[in-house]
């Protein structure tokens, strides 16, 4: 399925300072019934991440942390069962999971004197039962399950999607009888940075020669095209010579035209997988 740039921009438009909650996603779905939830979620997630990246700093000043913590304490004293932390995060326009981490860190600092290590915090976020304070545990848990853009559960979903799509891609390649080397084989050959698959015999899709395929399993917006091009694709390019990057996400023709560097990848929409496996199939088959 191909999204036009206009459609994409319309969606992105709706996402300006919307909290990353179930409710927002539901509204989005009602607004764009023709798009799959996965596509919407992916766009949502990316837009939100961009937003957080921009505003991250202001939540991490010590004054901000202190004031959040005090507000949390006051709120909990009033009513421990109310979604204090979640409301706080939504109010200040910050991701609930990240807010939970912030408060947890602050809490541990106060109660344990030594600054808690990152791994301790991470494991507490994964399993809030480990948090010594029951009320905080519930608050943190609430934040995590209500956050659809950050948090351990979301990370796991992303990871799972990545893995699944790699498997799907492999199946497709096998089905199409294309000979390829996968990442493990490439690593065994001594490559340090590898795409997911290198085609042993290049193929042409819509007039573009494809040497390797990298599965990104996320919506290919302009920004990620640029970023990935920069971080990964050029290094493959250098390594594997004339590689054509075919990061076929559900990048849109309109979208890709907007940036010269992305045009090549978006022109090959479909060899790449994207959020919807069904779409992937369709694109690859055409």
């Amino acid at each position: 399925m191909i999204l036009t740039k206009a459609q994409y921009e319309e969606i992105a438009q709706c996402l300006v300072s919307v909290p990353p909650t179930r409710q927002s996603l539901r509204k989005l779905k009602q607004r764009f019934p023709s798009q799959s939830q996965a596509t919407l979620l992916s766009i949502f997630s990316q837009e939100y991440q961009k937003h957080i990246k921009r505003t991250h700093g202001k939540h991490h000043t010590s004054e901000a942390i202190e004031s959040y913590y005090q507000r949390y304490l006051n709120g909990v004293v009033k009513n421990g069962a109310a979604p204090v932390l979640l409301d706080l995060a939504n109010e200040v326009d910050y991701a609930p999971s990240l807010m939970a981490r912030l408060i947890l860190e602050r809490f541990l600092q106060e109660h344990e004197e030594t600054a808690p290590s990152k791994s301790v915090i991470n494991s507490m976020l994964r399993d809030p039962s480990q948090i010594p304070d029951g009320v905080l545990a519930n608050q943190v848990y609430q934040c995590i399950v209500n956050d659809c853009c950050y948090g351990p559960l979301v990370d796991c979903i992303k990871h799972a999607i990545g893995h699944e799509h790699e498997v799907l891609l492999r199946d497709l390649l096998l089905e199409k009888n294309l000979s390829f080397l996968d990442e493990d084989q490439l690593r065994a050959k001594g490559y340090d940075k590898t795409p997911d698959f290198i085609l042993q015999v290049p193929v042409a899709v819509e007039g573009h020669i494809i040497h390797w395929i990298e599965s990104k399993a996320s919506f290919g917006d302009e920004c990620s095209h640029h970023a990935y091009l920069h971080d990964q694709f050029w290094s493959y390019w250098n390594r594997d010579g004339i590689s054509q990057c075919c990061s076929g996400w559900c990048g849109t023709p309109g979208l890709s035209d907007s940036s010269a560097s992305a045009s090549q990848s978006a022109g090959i929409t479909g060899v790449r997988k994207h959020f919807l496996p069904g779409i992937l199939m369709k694109c690859v088959c055409k």
Binding site: R22, Q23, L41, A81, P83, L86, R126, D127, P128, S129, G134, A137, N138, Y141, Q142, V145, N146, P152, L153, C156, I157, K158, H159, A160, I161, H163, E164, V167, L168, D171, K189, G190, Y191, D192, R239, P277
Partner: protein
């Protein structure tokens, strides 16, 4: 200058400040730089007052060191003619100005020391290179000896000893000039009569006048001269009193002569005595016999005087070297090696009356007061340059590592050197060329169609014949003592040239000439070494074993004579001499012009050749094999370029070189004006600039240096060439070895450039002041990087073999060390290995006597008669098959071994328990078991090549190839491929196995991971699975939605239907049964989410869609869902499920919020857990027990206690009874809880 050194020694300024100070002067940014913050103001002030002297500091330092060491290295007298400015610049020295350097020098070399002053020390002899601008003119005086043409006129006497015009050495010319080149008339070295040779050097750096060599008709004179300080000299130093101030370098010439004599003597001995015991006797024996008193002084670190001072000077000196402030890195190393191997101190120093004992000035007292000081100083400097040392060839490293003085003064350095030696693979061979080979007839150019007439074609063919006749005659005779090129061949050559009337005939002949030149001189050893290094060419590979041994032997017999000190003049070794003499004898300007055209064209072509660029990142065992080929190709191109450029330079500057001194004053100006109009024969400036821009300096600069080395005296003064020199100087300065800039240039590439540039700066025609006076180029050397990211410079194209081939003078270092060893052999038992002959015949330099040599020549002849494509094909096949063979072995044998290693490892782990022991130890055990199997690789490889090569050759050659040719080609290909593969395998197989096994071990250990039990039973989906299950990511996302609904906050109309929950759990089951898309982290999260879901079910916290009154899950539905979960946990999850979380305070706490509280589901769940064996009773009890410790509301704690009592009270009954019990009292828990 001295003031600087003194203030340094007095610790007024730091070493770093001084080095900054010097370096800055050469960069010209003085004013601002002086006030840079890192300079201590005091230091800056102290130094700034000396600013004008800055540029003279380095020359001063070098001269100072040479002078100081003169007593130790008697063969190297101190600086003869210092810059006037330099001596005046000793403000702090009371007697400074009055003490002319002459006085000091003559005191250092009183006649009584004669026996110990060896004459052969070009290095130290050059001590006084730096002179003021004034003396620079005088230098020209030497130039007259460099003329070529004069001596090459027919009859002018090629053997005449040159330089008769030099007034400074009358005694020499009078004594017996002709004898010097006459082998028979000269007595062995040991008995060399006192001659005029023990003279003083004129410059620090230039040992020998160049063109004398060039002008000799006998090529061999050029490149043979013994190494230096080893040859003690019994000549009285009568000449020491000869006028220093003349500015003429008497030493050079006499030096030359002595070398000549030595070389002849040695070669005579070689020829006369077939007993090839070793070269040692010649080198070593004179020592004791002649200079019995000259025993080596042992050096003792404990007896070093003024350590600190030495350390300081060593540090400054090292820093100057490291910053490339000295002209020639290897020259300085040579000097340091000389100090290291100094044998004995001359003790007569106190005869200097001017050295008043009261003066404590740090410069007044000698720096080196004893041999201990010298060695200490040398070791200090060497420590700073370990990196360079470790990149020398293996032989040098070995000698260094075995040097007992080094061991005694710095065991640490010795240890590092030993390690470097053991790790080094840089075996360098400087074998001599095999027999020459004629260029085969070239049908594409040498045919009638390319000639204007039949007659011209016929003439060309006849000339060809004459040319080869001349060549063969030269080959046969040129080593005979009395033979003279001009006398023997000159008239025939000129007659032949006379027949070349048409211009096109000239060009044809020139093409032949050039091809022959390349063929003879560039291919193995023509220029004094084998080109092909580790991967020798076809011929050397055939039967490489014994042939190689013979060549090594030959090399050891020949090598010591093969170069002339650390800075030899440009020469035409070996076959090159023929071509040089041919050009001179022909003396045809048409020929020269055509030759220059042709050489220029070829140089441009080769210089622009796109050489394969190396990808630095995929280095691998296999690509190593391939990479050798590329390195080899680079070596071939580079050596060809150097050869062509040398001849181009020779021919191009031939008309301008003459015996008369370079002009001065107005005459010079007019010559300059004239010459500056002449366009350069080849636009080398542009080529150099482009080369630098494209990061191909490693290719361009070495040949350019060859070209420039033949320039005449006027050339460096021309603007055009001055630009080139300035570019080269900046390049030289920018090549700081210690700067690790892999991306920019490889270490050995830098070393090569430094070596050739350093050599160029020592050529007499290059003005001595050029290097130090260079003030103009202010900024650091910057190349506009329009260049590709990886230029040739960044690729490791240079290896030690190529380095030593291009710069044979680096080998002098090794000889110096070897001489030290041989000198001390008599005493200490010796390190010198004797060559043990295996046969008594055929030990001559010719390997041809052996059948393998014959075989090689046969193969060569075979290829010669076949089209060139045949040879290319065979080499190509051999190359590919060899490489494939390695890959095949890797994929079969090595992979098998790795599998064995894995199973062995499993056994180990089983027997040793979970810990398994130290991984490194495990690896050792495995490797010791497996590596011996690597030996099979050779047999397998041989078999592989045997099997594969013939087919490939057959497929690639034309169908019509005669059977005999085909089978020969096949055999050669098999041999070469086997050779190549086996060479690689035998060198690397053990390392390869080790590496692979190591990777496998770490893989296995990692996979073993923290929970070895969890992994064993992981299973895939069933055979029938079609992978249509929902994706794990989708499920996690769905369950997360339910959880978030349950945890809230939620809108009033939100909720889930019981059907949806059931469906969800059903899907979860499907997903878990289809493992296709499931990765461990996803499964872990699914497990955890399912536990959370169960807790919410138990606490009845899930909002249910439906009539508002209901809003809660029915008991029965809840139980059904819990049953589904239980069975998922039991049957479908393959990873651990965190069931204990069900009883975590947080999840149990959920119950506290429900009103009325219902405990029956929890009790039910607990029972089922136990029944299904998912949790043990004890475990649950423990969890319940810990629950009591948490803070609960009063009533909740009570109910909890009741629940746990109830659970504990249940008898440990087998399942059926439990179930009945449950049926009978379905709501017991609830009742209890509510009571």
């Amino acid at each position: 200058m001295a003031a600087v050194l003194e203030s340094l020694l007095r610790e007024e300024v730091s070493v770093a400040a001084v080095v900054r100070w010097i370096a800055r002067s050469t960069r010209g940014s003085e004013v601002t730089a002086l006030t840079r913050p890192q300079d201590n103001p005091g230091e800056a002030a102290a130094l700034s007052s000396l600013r004008p002297l800055r540029k003279e500091f380095v020359p001063f330092l070098l001269n100072f060191l040479r002078e100081q060491s003169s007593r130790v290295l008697p063969q190297g007298p101190p600086t003869p003619a210092k810059a006037p400015g330099a001596s005046a610049a000793l403000p702090g020295r009371p007697g400074g100005p009055s003490r002319g350097s002459r006085g000091a020098r003559s005191q250092l070399f009183p006649p009584t020391e004669a026996p110990s002053t060896a004459a052969e020390a070009p290095l130290a002899r050059r001590g006084g290179r730096r002179r003021g601008p004034g003396p620079a003119r005088e230098r020209g005086g030497r130039g007259l000896e460099e003329g070529v043409s004069g001596e090459n006129l027919p009859g002018a006497g090629g053997r005449r000893l040159r330089g008769s015009g030099s007034p400074s050495r009358p005694s020499l010319t009078l004594s017996d000039p002709p004898n010097l080149s006459n082998l028979e008339e000269f007595p062995p070295v040991g008995s060399v009569p006192p001659g005029p040779t023990g003279t003083k050097p004129s410059r620090r750096i230039n040992p020998t006048p160049v063109s004398e060599e060039r002008s000799l008709s006998k090529p061999k004179t050029c490149f043979t001269s013994p190494p230096i300080n080893c040859v003690p000299n019994s000549q009285p130093s009568a000449l020491d009193t000869s006028p220093w101030g003349l500015g003429l370098p008497p030493g050079c010439r006499s030096l030359q002569e002595e070398r000549e004599m030595l070389r002849k003597e040695r070669s005579k001995q070689l020829q006369q005595s077939p007993t090839p015991t070793c070269p040692t006797p010649e080198l070593g024996s004179p020592l004791p016999s002649r200079a019995g008193s000259l025993t080596d002084e042992p050096a003792d670190p404990a007896r070093v005087s003024s350590r600190q001072r030495l350390e300081l000077v060593a540090l400054v000196y090292s820093s100057c070297i490291a910053e490339n402030l000295v002209p020639n890195l290897f020259l300085e190393l040579f000097f340091v090696f000389q100090l290291l191997t100094a044998r004995r101190m001359v003790t007569a120093k106190n005869s200097d009356p001017e050295l008043s004992p009261g003066v404590l000035d740090s410069l007044e007292s000698p720096l080196f007061q004893s041999i201990h000081d010298c060695v200490f100083f040398a070791v200090q400097v060497l420590e700073c340059h370990f990196q360079v040392l470790s990149n020398l060839d293996k032989g040098t490293l070995k000698l260094l590592a075995e040097n007992e003085r080094l061991l005694c003064f710095s065991p640490a350095l010795q240890g590092r050197l030993r390690a470097a030696y053991e790790g080094s693979v840089a075996k360098v061979s400087l074998a001599m060329p095999p027999s020459a080979q004629a260029v085969s007839f070239q049908p594409e150019t040498d045919n009638r169609a390319n000639f204007s007439s039949d007659r011209a074609f016929h003439t060309f063919k006849k000339q060809r014949d004459v040319f080869y006749e001349v060549l063969r005659e030269w080959e046969d005779h040129h080593e005979e003592p009395g033979w003279d090129f001009e006398k023997g061949l000159g008239s025939r050559i000129r007659a032949m040239m006379g027949q070349l009337s048409a211009a096109c005939s000239h060009s044809h002949f020139v093409r032949l000439f050039q091809k022959q030149l390349l063929q003879m001189c560039q291919s193995p050893g023509g220029a004094g070494g084998t080109v092909l290094g580790e991967a020798p060419d076809v011929l050397s590979m055939l039967g490489a074993d014994k042939l190689g041994r013979l060549w090594r032997l030959q090399e050891r017999l020949m090598a010591p004579q093969s170069s002339g000190g650390p800075c030899p003049p440009p020469t035409f070794p070996g076959c090159q001499g023929f071509f040089r003499d041919f050009i001179l004898s022909a003396s045809s300007f048409q020929f020269n012009q055509h030759l220059m055209d042709s050489l220029s064209l070829k140089i441009r072509e080769l210089n622009g050749l796109a050489l394969p660029q190396h990808e630095p990142s995929d280095e691998d065992g296999e690509s190593d094999v391939d990479w050798q080929g590329e390195r080899r190709q680079f070596a071939v191109v580079l050596l060809s370029l150097r050869l062509l450029a040398k001849f181009l330079g020779f021919v191009a500057f031939l008309p301008y070189r003459g015996p008369e001194p370079p002009p001065t004053g107005e005459l010079q100006d007019s010559i300059l004006a004239l010459r500056s109009q002449v366009p350069p024969v080849l636009d080398v400036r542009t080529l150099l600039q482009r080369g630098l821009q494209a990061r191909r300096a490693v290719l361009t600069v070495p040949w350019l240096v060859e070209f420039l080395s033949f320039a005449d005296h006027v050339v460096p003064l021309l603007d055009y060439y001055r630009d080139i020199f300035i570019l080269l100087l900046r390049l030289h300065r920018s090549l700081v070895l210690s700067q690790e800039s892999e991306a920019k240039m490889c270490f050995l590439n830098k070393l090569l450039l430094l070596a050739v540039l350093g050599w160029l700066f020592q050529i007499p025609t290059v003005p001595e002041d050029l290097f130090f006076l260079e003030e103009g180029p202010s900024d650091a050397f910057e190349v506009d990087t329009v260049a590709p990211e990886h230029g040739l410079d960044a690729a490791p194209v240079v290896d030690q073999q190529l380095l030593y081939t291009c710069c044979p003078y680096i080998g002098e270092l090794r000889k110096l060390l070897a001489l030290w060893v041989s000198g001390s052999t008599g005493r200490s038992g010796g390190f010198m290995r004797k060559i043990t002959p295996t046969t008594t015949t055929g030990l001559g330099a010719q390997p041809s006597g052996t059948s393998q040599g014959l075989q090689a020549r046969l193969a060569h002849a075979f290829f010669h008669n076949q089209p060139p494509s045949l040879r290319r094909t065979v080499e190509f096949v051999a190359e590919r098959i060899g490489s494939n063979c390695v890959k095949h072995i890797k994929a079969t044998l090595v992979a098998d071994l790795v599998r064995q290693a894995e199973s062995l490892l499993q056994e180990q782990l089983v027997t040793q328990g979970e810990e398994g022991g130290d991984p490194a130890q495990l690896l050792e055990i495995l490797c010791s078991q497996l590596c011996p199997h690597g030996a099979q690789a050779l047999a397998l490889g041989r078999e592989f090549c045997q099997r594969k090569s013939p087919g490939a050759v057959r497929a690639l050659l034309p169908e019509e190839t005669p059977a005999a040719v085909l089978s020969s080609a096949e055999n050669i290909a098999v041999g070469l491929a086997t050779e190549k593969a086996c060479a690689w395998l035998s060198a690397n197989i053990t390392a390869l196995i080790r590496r692979e096994v190591k990777a496998a071990v770490s893989r296995t250990l990692r996979a073993q991971g923290p929970e070895p039990a969890a992994r064993g039973e992981r299973r895939g989906c069933s055979r029938a699975c079609e992978h249509h299950a929902p994706l794990p990511s989708h499920l996690i996302s769905e369950i997360k939605d339910v959880l978030s609904l349950a945890v809230g906050p939620r809108d009033p109309d939100e909720g889930v239907s019981p059907e949806h929950l059931e469906q969800l759990l059903g899907q979860l089951g499907q997903t878990l049964r289809c493992r296709q898309f499931l990765c461990p982290p996803a499964e872990q999260h699914l497990a955890k989410c399912s536990v959370d879901l169960a807790s919410l079910l138990v606490a009845d916290q899930i909002p249910i869609l439906g009539p508002p009154a209901q809003y809660r899950l029915e008991r029965g539905q809840a139980r059904r869902l819990l049953h589904m979960l239980l069975s998922l946990w039991k049957e479908d999850f393959q990873g651990p499920v965190p069931l204990q979380l069900l009883l975590s305070p947080r999840n149990v706490g959920l119950l506290a919020d429900t009103r009325p509280r219902e405990w029956d589901l929890l009790l039910f769940l607990l029972r089922e857990l136990v029944e299904k064996g998912l949790m043990g009773r004890m475990e649950i009890e423990a969890c319940l027990g810990s629950l009591h410790q948490a803070q609960w509301p009063g009533d909740f704690a009570e109910e909890l206690a009741t629940l746990s009592n109830l659970f504990l009270a249940e008898p440990h009954l087998p399942e059926p009874q439990l179930r009945t019990c449950e049926l009978v009292q379905p709501n017991r828990g609830t009742v209890l809880a509510q009571s």
